[in-house]
């Protein structure tokens, strides 16, 4: 397939995934606003979505109202929910021929619906409903491509986009929240309250998943384990990299075994997650560990681009 087609599909999937992730962060922040006087939740949502720099270039102070606007519908923010949908559609439109009609429909119909949203739909009273809608858009897109695409290159490049974006996002959420909630001098199991810990889980829609896996009260240690190493947790780094490896293997197979640096790098990261232990992660330092994952994931994106999309 065309190199540019692979690139467009990759970014289509990344923007749809990013939209979904930002929506979950906003939802988590919104649900915490009632319990805390500070805007810390919004700060962490901005940092986790990589929007903090842009926000503070534009605003001097952090307020709930401005953060909400910036993350959802500010056209100056390329990662705002509506910007993501817009960019996803631009990429989809560039490669209409590669998409199934259901996939195109999932993106295009949502984009058309989004044009009918008004500023009112983004006020604190209405945002919950709007976020629910955004999540169904993400699910619909994911369902459309899982359910209708041939398992050929087109599909696997789309998968790569989804899981690279998701891995980056999970690592960021965990990093930001963990450090916000767990100051350096406070040991695990300190005085931070239960609701705050569960906010990490809410940001990745994993409150129930946690209970199902650990059957115990929420412990920071377990949260890290769940989001890093657990293969059954669909947003864990391990699950993301299992999917990335599978996609790369499938692409390699159709290309007669052609491999490059991106394959080595993905395999190396995936192996680390597959055989890693959470004790070692903490022994090394969670923040250092996650920083490395974020950097190597970004590097993988560049290597994929150099190998397939040029």
């Amino acid at each position: 397939m065309l190199a540019r087609a692979a690139e467009s599909l990759f970014w289509l999937a990344r923007y749809m995934e990013r939209m979904d992730n930002v929506a979950r962060l906003v939802e988590a922040a919104q649900s915490m606003s009632g319990m805390s006087e500070t805007a810390d939740e919004w700060r962490s949502a901005l940092v986790a979505s990589g929007c903090d720099e842009g926000y503070f270039e534009k605003h001097d102070e952090l307020t709930q109202a401005q953060a909400l606007l910036y993350l959802t519908r500010d056209p100056d923010n390329p990662s705002a929910i509506l910007s993501c949908l817009d960019r996803a559609r631009t990429n989809a439109r560039a490669m209409r021929t590669a998409l199934t009609s259901d996939m195109w429909d999932a993106v295009n119909a949502s984009w058309l619906d989004a044009r009918r949203l008004t500023p009112d739909d983004f006020t604190p009273g209405r945002i919950g409903e709007t976020i629910d809608w955004v999540k169904t858009v993400g699910t619909r897109f994911y369902g459309a491509y899982a359910g209708t695409m041939l398992r050929n290159e087109i599909y696997w490049f789309t998968r790569l986009g989804t899981f690279i974006e998701r891995a980056d996002n999970t690592a960021r959420i965990l990093d930001v929240k963990y450090h916000l909630l767990l100051p350096r001098d406070e040991g695990v199991g300190g005085a931070v309250d239960y609701y705050q810990w569960t906010s990490i889980l809410r940001a990745v829609s994993a409150v129930r998943a946690y209970q199902a896996v650990y059957r115990t009260e929420v412990k920071p240690w377990n949260i890290a384990d769940l989001l890093i190493l657990r293969p059954e947790m669909p947003r864990s780094l391990r699950a993301c990299y299992d999917n990335i490896e599978e996609a790369l293997d499938q692409i390699t197979e159709t290309h007669g075994g052609r491999r490059g640096e991106c394959h080595r790098l993905a395999g190396s990261i995936a192996a680390g997650l597959r055989y890693g232990r959470i004790d070692d992660v903490f022994a090394r330092g969670l923040h250092e560990y996650l920083t490395e994952v974020i950097e190597r994931t970004a590097l993988l994106g560049l290597e994929l681009n150099a190998f397939y999309m040029r």
Binding site: M1, A3, R4, R93, R96, S101, D105, E153, M309
Partner: protein, 469 residues
């Protein structure tokens, strides 16, 4: 004025009998509901058309009219023969002007008109195009003024668009009215993409081994006809490429793929000559492929339509098409030209300036309904201004009588009413011969009394039925 459905006695003409019965049984409210449904369908599929000079919605829909336009089998047979004849002559003309130049040597077409025409591409002189085909896809615009009177309004030999609307209009019609459609006995048109692919493959360069690789070259998604480009690539099962996706190496053309470079044999390009290759044409073009023309000259790739095909659809050259048919084919033209005055000729110009209020004046290089004057509908000030333009650059204008275009019943705000229509059939030329899919794109001027059907000027489209014989 000739209405294609209702005769002077108010009874419907035979080809429209089924339509008349169908309309009688369909209240306006039902039509309104279906029209809304059609609009939703089009928007969903993403069929939009950007109009450059207009503000507002950049992804405007071309209005679709529910009531089909119908041609009988006998009417179509005549049109089809005429189209094939004309396209054959246009192609022979292109081969001639870039080759031996016999028609100019014989004094049938003025040499200056060809050689000093901006549509003439010197780079094509002596270049052997694969299969000898220049105008692979031609859109020949027809108008009708009476039961047996069809005129060619203009030829489009470069990159005529609209075929996706022809195909999608049919899909929507069949979806909205499946029962009615099934009973009507209409020639199918869905084979067009397959015919186009076969036609393009047939002109692959002789050097090409195995099945030729065809691509559609588009300026990109901000082009007004982008939907059509992606639609055709999709329907043919070939890649839709932009200039950046192609690269010339060792005199051949390749596309950049996820597996490295792959050879390309035939380029169905939907970008203008001037943007094809910055090394030869506009150096500032970011849309093209550096080195493409060099590869073309070496016979490494086929370009459809050929570079320089625009010389054949110049509005001043148009006047000579009947002469081309006689010269190359030794036949009388089956389809008539509209009588045309060339403002470049002193006596004809004098006539035009005296009769501006009755005539339609067009720029010879204009297209899309821009830069024209419709005398009877223009104000006096507009006519005076236009007269000045003609006098300043007479060669750039031609004039034609204001034809009384046929009308077809059309569903407008006030109900079903007659509106003027034209027809653009699509003619495919390959190494094996010429094919025409039965029908074409019917464009309709939605404003009452308007004769301008161009979609860039607010025209709409209709499904076009050719009845089985």
């Amino acid at each position: 004025m000739f209405d294609e459905m209702y005769g002077p006695d108010g009874a419907s003409r035979a080809p429209y009998a089924a339509i008349a019965r169908w309309l009688d049984g369909l209240p306006h409210e039902a039509l309104r509901v279906k029209a809304d449904e059609a609009e939703r369908l089009f928007r969903r599929i993403g069929i939009t058309f950007a109009v450059y000079t207009e503000g507002g919605d950049p992804e405007r829909l071309i209005p679709y009219d529910l009531i089909p336009r119908v041609l009988s089998a006998a009417e179509w047979r005549l049109i089809e023969r005429g189209l094939k004849q004309r396209t054959k002559a246009l192609n022979a003309f292109l081969a001639d002007v870039y080759g031996a130049g016999e028609i100019m040597a014989a004094g049938k077409v003025p040499e200056a008109l060809v050689l000093r025409n901006p549509g003439f591409e010197a780079v094509m002189q002596g270049l052997a195009v694969p299969g000898g085909v220049y105008t692979h896809v031609a859109g020949i615009d027809l108008v009708r003024t009476g039961p047996d009177d069809f005129y060619v309004l203009e030829d489009n030999c470069r990159t005529p668009s609209g075929v996706s609307y022809m195909l999608e209009n049919r899909v929507v019609m069949m979806r909205l009215f499946p029962d009615f459609f099934a009973r009507a006995g209409v020639e199918p048109i869905a084979r067009y993409p397959e015919m186009l692919l076969r036609s393009l493959q047939s002109v692959a360069p002789p050097r090409c081994e195995g099945e030729p690789t065809v691509v559609v070259l588009t300026p990109g998604q901000y082009n007004s006809a982008y939907y059509e480009h992606s639609f055709l690539a999709d329907e043919m099962g070939v890649d839709l490429v932009e200039g950046v996706d192609l690269v010339v190496q060792d005199g051949a053309v390749f596309k950049r793929t996820t597996q490295g470079l792959q050879r390309v044999d035939v380029i169905y390009r939907r970008i203008d000559d001037a943007f094809l290759d910055p090394q030869v044409f506009r150096a500032d073009s970011a849309l093209g492929v550096p080195g493409l023309i060099d590869a073309y000259k070496r016979g490494a790739v086929a370009i459809a339509n050929a570079v320089g095909a625009g010389i054949a659809d110049d509005k001043a050259v148009y006047v000579y098409v009947p002469e081309m048919i006689r010269f190359y084919l030794g036949e009388e033209p089956i389809l008539k030209n509209v009588p045309t005055w060339q403002c470049g000729k002193a006596d004809e110009r004098a006539y035009v300036l005296e009769h501006l209020a009755e005539l339609v004046v067009k720029e010879t290089r204009g297209s899309g309904g821009y830069g024209m004057l419709i005398g009877p509908q223009a104000t006096k000030a507009e006519r005076t201004a236009f007269a000045r333009k003609i006098k300043a650059d007479p060669d750039a204008y031609i004039a034609q009588p204001t034809l009384s275009l046929s009308t077809c019943p059309t569903f407008v705000d006030s109900g079903v009413a007659p509106r003027h229509v034209d027809l653009r059939p699509f003619v495919l030329s390959g190494a094996h011969g010429i094919d025409v899919v039965p029908g074409g794109l019917t464009r309709v001027a939605l404003r009452e009394g308007s004769l301008v059907v161009n979609s860039s000027q607010g025209g709409g489209t209709k499904d076009t039925w050719v009845l089985r014989g």
